[in-house]
């Protein structure tokens, strides 16, 4: 469903991701892990067509993200790191607007908005201004927005940030219920979340892939260690020091 090959993104002299390749099968939930600044958000932004890559290719549902962005965007629901909400709109007006943007026909729009509002449990705050709902609700409105039109692929950048423990459990259940129908990439810091929801994990550090396998296989390769310890081991060499610099050659010229 998602096929990323040798993807590289540089910001001037900063390497965000380098030579990243991975695949996600249809109906699979991929846990996307990595320390802050490892390039998770950048990867997701490239997959959703928000930013172009410097080199390499990414295909979603058989369409190249760069060549056929509209086809990809029709098939992807995306929750960015900061939920893209308009504080001056009510939740209902916002969801109707996004439904319209996604080209959901007028007839089914109301039902579709109601469906995602129930799925993300925001149905009872529909008439409130987004500015006035709590952080947890804002996050859930962001999730509802991503679910609109039931896209084949869901890309969720830290969907449980700002939620309280019971809400986290609810969102986890929601994501688990999406498996099979939707292909999900779920970025998170919370390792419990990966254990609870994901089939496979992709761990990156400093923009490079350090692991991409089934959760069980990862644990089998590091016997006797918890996922936390494995994660720390794999990403340890990157915890000290800042982002990687590109060698100066080529820049000076």
């Amino acid at each position: 469903m998602i096929d990323v090959s040798r993807l590289t993104k540089r910001y001037r002299d900063l390497v965000a991701i380098e030579d990243l390749s991975f695949t996600v099968d249809k109906g699979e939930i991929l846990g996307f892990l990595g320390p802050n600044g490892a390039g998770k958000s950048t990867t997701m932004r490239i997959l959703t067509g928000f930013q172009p890559a410097t080199s390499g290719t990414a295909r979603v549902a058989g369409f190249d993200v760069f060549e056929q962005p509209l086809e990809v965007k029709r098939r992807v629901g995306y929750l960015p790191e900061i939920p893209p909400l308009y504080p001056d709109m009510t939740v209902a007006a916002y969801l109707r607007f996004v439904a319209e943007l996604k080209g959901i026909p007028r007839k089914g729009r109301k039902d579709e908005v109601d469906r995602v509002a129930h799925a993300a449990q925001v149905a009872h705050v529909m008439d409130r201004l987004i500015a006035n709902v709590s952080k947890g609700y804002k996050q859930r409105v962001g999730i509802a927005q991503a679910l609109l039109g039931s896209p084949d692929v869901l890309i969720l950048d830290e969907p449980t940030v700002g939620l309280d423990p019971s809400q986290i459990l609810e969102v986890r259940d929601l994501i688990k219920s999406l498996a099979g129908k939707h292909t999900v990439i779920l970025s998170t810091h919370i390792l419990q979340e990966v254990i609870a929801t994901c089939d496979r994990v992709l761990i990156i550090a400093r923009g490079r892939r350090v692991a991409h396998e089934r959760l069980a296989d990862l644990q089998a390769r590091h016997p006797g260690k918890s996922l936390d310890e494995i994660f720390l081991d794999l990403t340890s060499d990157t915890r000290i020091g800042g982002p990687v610099e590109v060698p100066a050659q080529g820049r000076a010229a």
Partner: protein, 264 residues
């Protein structure tokens, strides 16, 4: 096009559920009323003056269209310079600041549709402003009569002037939209738009002192100057071209600016 309308609808929703549109309407009608009253009382003073001169041929030349309605619409062109920056400042700057640009740019729509939808919404608000301006000549028409007993206002001229005002506003909005695409700050967007629009007005003042080619150049650059023949009821091709080319250039640059952001 349908996508552009979706964007336009959302922008109109935000204009009318936040105070901004109403404040702009209030300011325009308040200042418009001020100009209207001073122009009308000037007209009254002159009529009384000419009547006491017993000069019927002068009196016959006085008319509400040329002395009240047309100058009022010219003045509104200047007011647009002050008002349009507030209409356009939010359009793209706020999307960037709130990180909602990410939603628009990952939705299955083109960035040209985003730009065009926002432009349409601002034109909608502008159309209401023109409607408010049209109320003043309508008042004259309701309560006044012409020198020969006919209609007080020559509507053909007034409509030409209003159309010119709309075109002028449409050009200003395109400039404002472009500036809004360049910054995350609404205040910066409003100030720079205001500065640019103000320059297109004051450049006309300099034209009075200039000579030769420069005079022509400055006269043709002046935005409010291009309203003058509209206000006389003349739709001149060069004025049309002036306003339309600014509008098209503004939209084109906005689209470029939005696209360029992706590659940053």
């Amino acid at each position: 096009m349908r996508n552009a309308l979706a964007i336009a609808k959302k922008e109109l929703y935000l204009y009318f559920t936040t105070p901004i549109a109403y404040v702009v309407f209030f300011a325009t009608s308040f200042i418009g009323a001020f100009f209207f009253l001073s122009l009308a009382s000037e007209f009254q003073r002159r009529s009384i003056q000419f009547m006491s001169f017993q000069a019927p041929e002068l009196l016959a030349r006085l008319n509400l269209t040329d002395m009240v309605a047309a100058p009022l619409i010219l003045n509104m062109g200047v007011i647009l310079i002050f008002v349009v920056p507030f209409l356009t400042m939010r359009l793209l700057a706020e999307e960037r600041r709130q990180r909602t640009m990410e939603l628009l740019m990952t939705a299955p729509i083109r960035s040209s549709e985003i730009v065009f939808g926002k432009y349409l919404a601002a034109l909608g608000v502008l159309a209401v402003l023109i409607g408010i301006t049209a109320l003043f000549p309508a008042l004259l028409d309701t309560y006044g009569t012409g020198a020969t007993g006919g209609a007080a206002v020559e509507w053909q001229t007034v409509f030409a002037a209003l159309a010119g005002l709309f075109l002028c506003g449409a050009a200003f909005v395109a400039v404002g939209l472009f500036v809004s695409a360049l910054t995350e700050s609404q205040v910066v967007a409003a100030l720079i738009t205001f500065l640019v629009l103000l320059l297109t007005w004051v450049v006309g003042w300099k034209a009075a002192d200039a000579e030769g080619v420069w005079k022509d150049v400055l006269v043709h650059l002046s935005s409010v100057g291009h309203l003058v023949s509209f206000a006389r009821g003349v739709v001149d091709l060069k004025d049309l071209v002036y306003f339309l080319s600014i509008a098209v250039l503004g939209l084109f640059l906005t689209h470029r600016a939005v696209e360029a952001r992706r590659w940053a």
